[in-house]
Symmetry: C2
Subunit: 499 residues, 2 copies
């Protein structure tokens, strides 16, 4: 009997059928899967089994079975939302440390190979990538393949996929899967000179249908409806809602779904699995967590590099500083790199090689994240609800400050409270306090009295981890190096939880 | 005949008189100056002549004359407001590069001497300092002298100055004057365990009267009504208005007057000569300039140091970065230093020695400021008035971005526009563009076509100045080092103004 790993891909093909579908069943449960045209002659049905054992299938007169065997190696199944975090379907830990190579599949075979080598040697376990080619500064080359064939009038015929393109795309997704990297696939984007950003809503739904039928059985697929959705001006908010609902309904595996913004975070809906946010004010993660009650990924906070655009010329320190701030606020962040090159091969668009200083630091961050686990942000230093609470008045200085804050114009108050918000989060066994760009020579912290704790000091740039205090509890003065990029990491040895 | 330099201090004393005043006249102009008790036996009148030649004075039966001779050396007269900038009364340039030593006069003679030596070897030409002693972390020592004697009930008797204190204070002001340093004298503040922050309004006015009569003839006096005025909870806004009006009316020399805030910049009034602001969002200088139509000094944006408080643990780079940002937005900024020391002698409070890395960089900034002159900020990258204008729609991408910005909640829009605001300013002969923490490897700039210009690249940390382009005009691609802290400085050689 044919064997397929749990979370692997089983494919069935039939010649010439239209509107072909197949039913997969095990232990009385049946799942109907719709097919798609995979080449000029054949229709295919793809299925990702999520339970071990024998699966039976039937498609018209055709029937058969296969044996679903345990998942192995880097196959932990699709990533699922788990509260404010993620995990693999098999229960393994998954903390997204993504990178950005929008148009890597639209490059030459040599460059694609180099990109995959770079990814293999990187810490990244998610990649933001486009289906459609990209037209933007440093992105002026035409791809070899396009998703659709053209009509006689020169416009795209979304009902006629270019099979070579789709095979090329999914081969990229497969290779990412082998590397343990999630393909965060961006379905629409505005950087376009070919007309893909101007598909009608009807055309868009036909294209989507094909994407879902062809790609959703890949365990490492994530759906990103758009990059900078506000700039895809051919689509209304209703269109986006339609698209999100369609994917949510038709992708039976429930892959993560998000929408990336330029200015305004996509509204809360029932099909969003997480926030995919462009914003450099990464401490706002705490606010978005509250607002959306979902995991928050800062998918764009600026890129390490030296190009002329401010979104692409952060120092390596600034990027990794934003990354630690995000993580210490209970969120996740995505890397990107934009170093100027005469040949215009910039990682963020085309892949190739990584040159930045932050990559190694992302590996250090990832190591810590996988060690310490999921984090929940701890309340701010100023806990007064200035919108709704009376001002505390016992301590006259505090009362005067609170009054002064209350008297600020709303936007200044919000900005002030954001600045004052410390980047501290915890779980039962850990507390992580990222000190950001502040440079204290020491910091007093409060630990529970009824426990025993270890304190380590991490340097996010030097990637060092130094024991500071062992077997302590209560009020502790932690000696610090007095420089930027320092983390105080508390570990519970015994006693009271750090939550 | 006795000689007094223009802007020097002429003092007249008489024994035992109360409510003593003197009239100084020259060429038909008469100025009446009120006296103050200077010691147990004598009343004094102090006068700063602002015109050369013979001055006659008369005080009751007493009369005489003195010759006002030209000012020399570091004596350029009092600093005056000049639009959005300052200058000395004799027309010489004055660009404030201040520092902060709140309680330096309340320290031991040895420490005071060391502070003055440090100041002499520093670039600073203004110092923020308190009249009253200071009670705060790292500021726990009692001074030897207090401004007033006490009543029998142990409260301060503001009508009985401690002459030794005032002689001590003004000796500090005199020494600063010899060094060419303005004494930005803070009249009230909240960090108090002795009761000075709780004087009644009536008592405050008596104290002020004495300050004005005794100190206003010093050319290097500035009046700062308060440090963190919102925290001096014994005073209402009406009280502050009274105080400001009193100084403005009674200080015949028109020394600069400001009020330093903790959260909310002091409201616009007709007696403020400039804004004295505590805020770390230094790009807001552009907004405050518009709002107040006055010079803006960021008198507190955080201090270089490593203490436990976030306002006192900036890296040297962060502080000088804020300083250049401020200057490139048409404002001025004040230095401060808070490095932890076991002996609790921190520069920001007590003076002593300077340890930081930013001081040398402030000297570099000052050198450039005095070379290039007064700067006016140039409009932002996004010039749309989102509150009031229709959205431009010719370029669909711009229109989509503008719409997305319009759809942001007000506070996010304000924050976004602040982030997007470049730090660029100019005068007829210069344009200064500070690139902040961005790291471009090049930048395209537009110069007038009808002129010839030189472009230099400054590194604010390395304090270097490198010729980049000579004899250019129009659109120029400036090669840059791709690191933080870079300034593009354009100088007009001939032709069209850079304003």
């Amino acid at each position: 009997m044919k064997k397929v790993e749990k979370y692997g891909l089983f494919e069935l093909r039939i010649q010439g059928a239209e509107d072909f579908s197949a039913t997969f069943s095990q232990d009385g449960e049946s799942i109907e899967i719709k097919g798609f045209q995979i080449n000029e002659r054949e229709t295919a049905v793809r299925f990702m089994p999520r339970r071990k054992g024998v699966w039976h299938y039937r498609a018209g007169d055709l029937q058969g079975e296969f044996l679903c065997v345990p998942n192995t190696g880097k196959n932990h199944g699709p990533v699922e939302r788990n509260g404010y975090h993620f995990r693999y379907a098999d229960g393994s830990a998954y903390f997204p440390i993504g990178t950005t190579c929008y148009a890597w599949i639209h490059q030459t075979p040599e460059l694609i190979t180099q990109t995959l080598e770079s990814l293999e040697n990187s810490p990244f376990n998610k990649i933001r990538m486009l289906v459609f080619p990209k037209d933007m500064p440093y992105n002026k080359n035409d791809p070899d393949l396009y998703p659709f064939l053209k009509k006689d009038d020169g416009t795209w015929d979304v009902s006629r996929p270019d099979f070579a393109f789709w095979r090329h795309l999914e081969s990229g997704i497969e290779k990412l899967g082998e590397l343990g990297i999630e393909a965060d696939l961006i379905l629409f984007h505005p950087y376009d000179r070919w007309g893909f950003s101007k598909l009608t809503h009807e055309e868009s739904l036909i294209y989507l249908e094909y994407c879902i039928r062809r790609l959703s059985a890949y365990r490492n697929i994530w759906w990103s409806l758009a990059n900078e959705y506000e700039l895809v001006t051919s689509k209304t908010l209703d269109n986006w809602m339609d698209i999100g609902e369609k994917i949510s309904k038709e992708d039976i595996y429930g892959h993560p779904i998000s929408v990336h913004n330029i200015m305004n975070v996509f509204p809360k809906t029932d099909w969003l699995t997480h926030c995919s946010i462009q914003n450099s004010e990464v401490k706002r993660v705490i606010q978005w967590r509250k607002e959306y009650e979902l995991p928050v990924i800062i998918d764009e906070c600026g890129y390490e590099g030296n190009i002329e655009f401010d979104w692409g010329n952060l120092s390596g320190f600034e990027l990794i500083h934003r990354a630690w701030t995000t993580v210490a606020c209970g969120g996740y962040i995505t890397h990107g790199e934009t170093f100027f090159r005469e040949d215009e091969v910039l990682w963020w668009a085309k892949g190739g090689k990584l040159y930045g200083e932050s990559v190694a630091r992302f590996a250090f961050l990832k190591e810590i994240q996988y060690e310490i686990g999921e984090l929940t942000p701890i309340g701010g230093r100023i806990d007064v609800d200035f919108e709704n609470s009376p001002i505390p008045s016992e301590n006259p200085v505090i009362a005067a400050i609170a009054n002064a804050v209350l008297n600020m114009p709303e936007w200044e108050r919000k900005l002030f409270l954001l600045r004052m918000q410390p980047a501290v989060s915890s779980n039962e066994n850990r507390r992580l306090h990222y000190l950001g760009r502040t440079c204290p020579a020491f910091q007093e912290i409060m630990l529970p009295e009824n426990g025993v704790y270890r304190i380590e000091v991490l340097d996010i740039w030097e990637m060092t981890r130094t024991a500071a205090c062992e077997g302590v509890s209560g009020k502790i003065k932690v000696p610090l190096p007095g420089k930027e990029g320092i983390v105080i990491l508390v570990t519970r040895i015994a006693g009271e939880s750090l939550n």
